[in-house]
Symmetry: C2
Subunit: 360 residues, 2 copies
Amino acid sequence: MKPGYIKYEELLSYTKTVLEKLGYPKEQAEVTAWSLVEADARGVPSHGVGRLPFYETNIKSKFVFPDAKLEVVHETPLSLVVDGHNGIGPYLAKFTMTRAIEKAKKVGAGFGALRNSSHFGMAALWAEMATAEGFIGMSFTNTRICSVVTFGKERILGTNPICFAIPSAGKTPFILDMATTTTAHGKVEVYERRNKPMPIGWVVDENGNDTSDTIEFQKLYRSTNPHGGHLFLGGAGEELGGHKGYGLGLFVDLLCAGMSMGAWSKETFSKTDGCKVASFFAAIRTDLFGNAAEIAAHVESILQGVRDSAKSQGRDRIYIHGEKEIEKHAESMVEGVPLDEVEWKMLDGYAAKFSLPSLR
Amino acid sequence: MKPGYIKYEELLSYTKTVLEKLGYPKEQAEVTAWSLVEADARGVPSHGVGRLPFYETNIKSKFVFPDAKLEVVHETPLSLVVDGHNGIGPYLAKFTMTRAIEKAKKVGAGFGALRNSSHFGMAALWAEMATAEGFIGMSFTNTRICSVVTFGKERILGTNPICFAIPSAGKTPFILDMATTTTAHGKVEVYERRNKPMPIGWVVDENGNDTSDTIEFQKLYRSTNPHGGHLFLGGAGEELGGHKGYGLGLFVDLLCAGMSMGAWSKETFSKTDGCKVASFFAAIRTDLFGNAAEIAAHVESILQGVRDSAKSQGRDRIYIHGEKEIEKHAESMVEGVPLDEVEWKMLDGYAAKFSLPSLR
């Protein structure tokens, strides 16, 4: 194992143990550990084990109650609505998507709306449960507020990610997993550490104007001032389509909070009676449209047509969404999962705190 | 009627007559005329009666066959696949969405995939058929190629619009109708007429690099060079999220062409045996998730929360998607539909050609 790398199974088992020590019941710990380690293995550390201290804080802040019992509050042959009672996000996401897929198997499509949940990790993990069955998968969630809408300056929506996944006959399904904001806050933090100005189009200041001043923005973002925040895809105003990104972000909240009768982004993480995150899931059989194998082959032929198209100057590859992550995952299973020094120290800290053997 | 304006009903009737003269059967002419006049009435002239010469050219080029008989090639209780045999887009879109809604009424959700169609007008019109019933509506279509993907330089995808519509208890539903490209080509043409440089993020040149040179870009775009074209939302590269916009555009093609076993953008308008545009429609009942009226009220409360949030400097209103168009429509029903001089001349031309009384 190269320095800084750790075996997938070892990290998985350790993460599960830490979560159990933090009060997660066994099943909740298993699925959450898997969701975190999968993210690191795929090269998406923003959703990886580095989240453990955030998950711990959420319990202490009474935003999350690890042993909450979920409740199915509404159900039809095609749909269910789950009240998670502010339990564990990945556990609730897996439950709801599992049930949506069962419905799709029986009747052709299944939809799940989930309220009073919490951070569910990478959106792709849940949509992929559908593509693993050969179905179209979708997952959406609102999040803690960070973003402003077109012509606004107040942080009222979250990063509100969308995942659309479509099975193909190729090596990997099409898996588009995207925050509807231009960038995640983690990228702003990287620019802060490097003392670099941000590109215009990431955030606006307290007056709602474009800014590239990373240091001033971070001061504002950490203050109690509710103004200034992340922009949606397309940036401020309408010239580069910022109103479209805002529309996608709002659509996510209307699906997640609207259909579940749950809290919208602005109301999440607002009181210490649960963080109240809301999510939405869909599974749709492709054989609703004909022979599933033929459709998957047709989808792959389109993807190959895209891969084969002419490259721009200095580029030798066009990526299909999901490919980078799946390739990184395969690499991680052989070479181990890379963790940075901050993550190693965090894991050392939990080893000391819970008297676990060190992973080093 | 102010100069340049025309009564909605008058324009509708005239447009229908012109389409019939162009060879459209009565029903095809009715729905197409309605789709064009609705666009003008809503302040979306890019999809209005100005399209008539384009529709005429499509017939002459054998891209569209107005009297083609549609064929339902696959059907389940939740879904249908329609082969339009390169008939009239708005007529085929209306047929497919009508059937999807009928299915949603019976079983909860309905999906329609449509291949070998043609330009279907504003995507919103079809998704709104679902919100008119109180259902979630979605419509998607691929289009003639104009756009390049992240790290590519070849025009292989279209503007590939998405419409997501969600019913609310307010005056208007949420109706997000957006090209997944940053901008429509019509906007480039406006900049050309004004001899203005374009914003960076709209298009790339023949090497796949950002350009603001409107004149050079238009030369390229009108040439047989397949390189250089429109960018997806987020622009070139990944810094401002261009890979996300590209993902949304590709998702549209996978749904429309993939599920219908139809042609993807790159294959549309490529031979004179039909333009082969593919589309996709969905209708989903909100009472799958509980009491539809309560959900619509909850959706409206979220929309109101967004409207009420703090405005950026110099702005006094935050818009919900669809509001501008619905307000403009109400205005047009009173004051008439505005047409520009080019559109008036085009209508005069058809009056002369088909010996119709002038509209002036």
